[in-house]
Symmetry: C2
Subunit: 266 residues, 2 copies
């Protein structure tokens, strides 16, 4: 009996130890982002001087295209800048800012910022405030996990999308299919809240995480990969323009593959 | 022309920026390990109080079994303790310590420590010293990457493995097949160097990384998962022994899936 009690005590100790590790991980994440913030700021400025940087990154990324509609790429090609900023106090919360240039008569130039907040959730959909019950929930047996939520943010849709633009669809019942198609576009993602699964942009949380944990942290590596692929394709043509040559960095392909793990933020 | 020069300058700036990020990542990794070290130490002590902890973790892990031979599990079940320690100055280097209890007449109790060092490598197999040419390599166009190497470490093999034990095979030419079989066992892994691909334990680097980046950091989560699976299986039987019940921690399965990324060390 004393043995069993000792084991139970050790298991309780291990549960506390796991909590201590989670606290360390959050502290490390904050430390990392505090150190990276000025480096990202310098990088944003440098990226702004490379024409079509984000067009190259977004059009060549192996997964980004799976989230949106093929017709969206006309407007993805309008993206001049992408920035992700993490809250200093709460690095689980972040915003994605996207700057588009316009297309005459179809699509206005605009800068759109969508914010995401990491919230604690119990038994699936009961959402509790951010951080609030981190301590008080200890006695509770219900499983608790974290997920992203967001609020809809205004974005001007292309005129070419009028038929699927939810603000321009008069009869939502009659145009259910068009409404749903619209919600699956990149513009639909800006309306995503995380609270109406099946009725809004699919996998909105994953696309937010793709920006924050993959596309933004590794955009330079993706750009270089894309340029390398282009250089390989053009290797038999005359290619004496040094600015067009792939940028050599001390990294191999395997390393690039791994990066979505290394700089992952949760 | 001035445009092209500006772009080339920006690309060079981005290469420097990537190097600055790598420096930050290494600094963050050191910070993380410095914070985790005392937490891991407490945890090692707690784990030592839970009988068969590592037997449960190693036998239930979805990937570990793929690295070794099925017959090795008789000796995996002898593992009473696993510890990973990262070098304070150089967190890319680490050691894996495994403690076995003995099996009467077959296998002696022993504690074996295998050290791994992360080295810079150029054009595949030319190995350079750890850290040495991090700066001097800048002008070099060759791609450089990091990989693990190790030295063989003494371990006593089970008597049952005499026929495949490389130290007991008299004629290596005649017993090539037995020799190779031996090298594929867990005991073969302790001889792995990383310098003789095809002739030593297969994927020795990956097994080292599995211990350091997955099994050791997430062993408590794996233990809980395994206990939960057991509890599910026994859910219709009388089960009033609280020490045998799954330990509830604030994490969901998705989170567990993700952990190998979150605490990943490179």
């Amino acid at each position: 009996m004393s043995d069993k009690k000792q084991i139970a005590d050790a298991l309780r100790g291990l549960a506390d130890n796991e909590s201590a590790m989670d606290v360390v991980e959050k502290q490390v994440e904050k430390y990392r982002l505090d150190l990276l913030r000025p480096v990202y700021k310098d990088r944003d400025e440098l990226i702004g001087r490379v024409p079509s940087f984000w067009m190259v990154v977004l059009s060549q990324h192996s997964n980004f295209a799976n989230f949106i509609r093929a017709s969206d790429f006309k407007y993805v090609d309008c993206i001049d800048d992408v920035r992700v900023e993490w809250d200093e106090a709460n690095p689980g919360n972040f915003s994605v800012n996207i700057k588009f240039h316009g297309l005459e008569g179809d699509f206005p130039a605009q800068s759109v910022t969508k914010r995401f907040r990491l919230v604690k959730v119990k038994d699936d959909m009961k959402v509790s405030g951010n951080d609030e019950d981190r301590e008080s929930g200890d006695d509770d047996d219900e499983e608790e996990y974290e997920r992203l939520l967001s609020d809809p943010v205004d974005v001007e849709w292309p005129v070419a999308y009028d038929s699927i633009n939810p603000d321009k669809i008069q009869d939502k019942r009659a145009s259910k299919k068009e409404y749903r198609t619209g919600m699956k576009t990149l513009f639909g993602w800006f309306r995503w809240t995380g609270l109406k699964p099946g009725k809004e942009f699919p996998n909105g949380e994953s696309l937010a995480e793709l920006f924050a944990n993959d596309l933004y942290p590794y955009c330079v590596k993706y750009y270089i990969e894309a340029q390398r692929d282009l250089a390989d394709e053009m290797s038999d043509s005359d290619n004496d323009d040094s600015a067009e040559e792939p940028l050599e960095l001390p990294s191999d392909d395997d390393e690039v593959q791994d990066h979505s793990k290394k700089r992952r933020l949760e």
